[in-house]
Symmetry: C2
């Protein structure tokens, strides 16, 4: 199978675009996934874990944000010449699972899934070829009550993770409204619709005037390049601009503006009705516009989804790599996609769901200092006499049995300085020392390393200087004294 | 890249050898991993998560239980023609990570890792091509104190998972003792050593007499085939047989028997000393032979490891697929492997570790009925009037805010029977009903579905028949009454 390049020594590095996660990077992520799973579960969703590998034919070409076919996927042939690939998201496997097991699954089927996905794309800063997704989807429910429920659940998830109300917002839009806008414009040609969609996507950057130019003859962009326009008549641009600028202070006013934008279009009216129904269902559950709002500027994903579309955004500011303030932006998104299962079964099965970008969310919480970073290390029992390793092991066993994280120094014990350096690197709060003299007298030395570090930093520190940083206690009081020191810093 | 076979409809199935996990299969595994991670952490181990994909050259050919080179691995070429592969275990990536980050990592480095690994092998019953591993390793500690610590930790893990003392045992052996036995036999040739190792591996099946035959001229096996022997003189077999049968009632007696088996061999004596030291370190921590024993019959992995080898076995009996009693067998194994990092750096770095087979362990606990199987489903709020969906959403929101798992029925509400069938399939304990009449009177109907099912099963059931299975309560008491019913079955 694989032909290995002969080389005297392999390079110790990850493949390009992959990375390792250490310590709290791992544990903070699993705590986050666990918290989200708790919310999903409370909403009646069931866990599903499919494998990382699928047949290429089952995965299909459904990568939401690309036009490319099998590009973007890691794929290979198995021994029977069948193509297999690593999943690129958790939605394509859901469609396969649902089609395969539909006779055994409840209908509607609410499921959640979390795990790594892989993309064979050019890696960039902060962009890796393996990352986590954390999805919840409802398959088999046509009602927008299912979409509303997912928006409420997304809001609950963010709050459970420690993002207070006001620091986030879930924005909701609807693809049918856009279809209505296209109808009102008199655009029915697929290629032209796609051009209009692409233009709408640029609204953020080019603004209202820019969108008018791009829908018409074209536009000179900032770099001096001329961008060809879609070639519509000026009045045809009106419904799009009305749509993009229809956001008002209240949901009711926004809905009115949208009704104007879609004009006589029936599909457009349906979209606005769906938005209105979602708003009223959410209000009934207590999710007002302080958490979930109708916002026609949500365009990401409008090309992929078929009905409601939603996006969660963090609204607090962070500093970017150049020290400039910016909003953190989107951390989750989703919507209704009614055609995914059809590929397998021929039947249209309505489905809606959300994907939370846990890695982005972790990055946001870290930048805000809301989660840990460093964690206190274990208590280190030093080794003064190699021959008495059993004594040290007994100490560490006692500490662990009391629920205290602890370890014996297992490197070469000859140089005691190295042991303290090791404790330092491990961010240990406490070191335990028992030399021959202590052993004889039935005592141990317990060093408060946190205080020790503070004293070393600033020896004249008044508030600390009278506190001892090392204690001699009877061997029998080891656990008690260590616990006492840990409690000081808990 | 991947050439997709054109077909009108893709097959909805996993690739051969892969499977999906549903509901409690997923949550029970993550609870198990979490519990094990807690023990690993208390012992001072740090989490590490590397990606599923490595370069083929970094992975190397270290699959412990096969002689095959790159077979057994899923591999492909990336756009730069470099070979990448899915990891087949968590040890090879550890070696790469340690070599890559050694300047930043503490020494010794204790790390744990858990996640899926992939093997491109023939799938069989209960044998999948993706499965979980859950490892802890100490890199950079030459002392057998590190091995002893891992055995103690393994014992703690099993007990934390609800396997009581007596239902498991951790068996310890040492590769150096075997090397001593080979020396005592006068076998120094590598090929012959490998033959002897293979014979030892068959001890379980062929017994003492069989081993003597296989080391000598050969043996007629049960199927009538003649298996060629290693061709040693009869007296050369003595040390091997002495080694394999050296297990005694106490560790001390076993150690004495092993000393006899290795004769004058220095490496053999070293191995016996290491076993003795591990036993004494473990005894000092309170891990006696009721949990961890020296057992020379542990031969699995002896070819791969370089020093201590250990294996955890469940000793309780289960029924196999044919209803016969058998012991469940091994659920974890590990040992010392000192050469893994050397491939990258040229330096020998001592390392030791353990891998817990979580999927096997889950299977064992399920067979013993020690973990769940089925879980109670959510409370289902039924939909009597589609136009009043907001009312039902409000109910479900109240229930969730009280911490109760609940959902609204999101299928087509027309047929009420379907809603109750759905609740049944979901294993719902309670259904909530609010028709127009109830709405008017400000009440809701709450159905105790567990009691309902019991009554349906046996209508004359005396102890139940006087208990109502449906209650009418004021709408304001919804949460209180549902909680009351749930408490009955908690």
């Amino acid at each position: 199978m694989a032909k290995v390049k002969k080389s005297p020594r392999p390079k110790a590095q990850t493949p390009k675009g992959f990375r390792d996660y250490f310590g709290t990077e791992v544990t903070e992520r699993s705590e986050m996934l666990r918290a989200i799973a708790g919310v999903y579960h409370r909403y009646g969703f069931e866990a599903l874990e499919s494998s990382g590998v699928e047949t290429v034919e089952a995965l299909g070409k459904f990568l939401p944000d690309v036009d490319r076919p099998n590009e973007g996927v890691f794929a290979w042939q198995d021994e029977d010449e069948n193509w297999m690939a690593l999943r690129y998201d958790l939605t394509a496997p859901l469609a396969r699972v649902y089609a395969e097991h539909r006779n055994d699954l409840p209908l509607p089927y609410r499921r959640f899934a979390m795990g790594p996905v892989w993309r064979n794309e050019k890696p960039g800063p902060g962009r890796y070829r393996q990352f986590y997704q954390c999805d919840a989807d409802t398959v088999g429910a046509a009602s927008v009550a299912a979409d509303a429920e997912i928006c409420a659940m997304l809001s609950d998830c963010l709050e459970v993770l420690g993002i207070p109300r006001g620091d986030y917002v879930v924005r909701v839009n609807n693809r049918k409204v856009l279809n209505g806008v296209l109808e009102a414009m008199g655009v029915s040609d697929d290629a032209q619709s796609a051009d209009v969609l692409r233009t709408i996507d640029k609204f953020d950057k080019v603004g209202e005037a820019g969108v008018r130019e791009l829908l018409g003859k074209g536009r000179l962009d900032a770099s001096g390049a001329y961008i060809d326009g879609v070639g519509l008549a000026p009045e045809q641009a009106e419904p799009v601009v009305a749509f993009l600028t229809s956001k008002r202070d209240s949901n009711e006013a926004t809905l009115d503006a949208l009704r104007d934008a879609v004009g006589e279009s029936q599909i457009g009216a349906e979209g606005v009705d769906e938005l209105a129904e979602m708003a009223s269902l959410l209000a009934a559950q207590g999710y007002g516009p302080d958490r979930i709002i109708i916002d026609p500027s949500v365009v990401r994903g409008l090309g992929y989804y078929t009905g409601p579309v939603f996006e969660a955004e963090l609204t607090f500011e962070i500093l970017d790599e150049k020290g400039r303030k910016r909003q953190f932006g989107s951390v989750a998104g989703g919507g209704r996609y009614d055609d995914l299962v059809k590929r397998f079964t021929g039947q249209v099965v309505p489905a809606t769901g959300v994907s939370i970008g846990v890695d982005r969310l972790l990055a946001a919480l870290r930048e805000k200092g809301r989660i840990g970073g460093t964690e206190q290390g274990p208590v280190v029992v030093t080794v003064m006499d190699k021959a008495r390793m059993a004594d040290y092991q007994a100490m560490v066993a006692e500490l662990r049995q009391a629920g205290i994280r602890a370890e014996v120094y297992l490197g070469n014990p000859k140089n005691f300085g190295n042991q303290l350096k090791y404790a330092d690197k491990r961010l240990s709060p406490v070191a335990v020392i028992e030399g021959g003299d202590e052993k004889e007298r039935g005592v141990v030395q317990i060093k408060d390393l946190i205080l020790g570090a503070k004293l070393a930093e600033n020896a004249t520190l008044d508030e600390w200087k009278d506190r001892p940083s090392q204690y001699e206690v009877p061997r029998g009081d080891l656990v008690k004294k260590v616990q006492e020191i840990l409690d000081l810093y808990a």
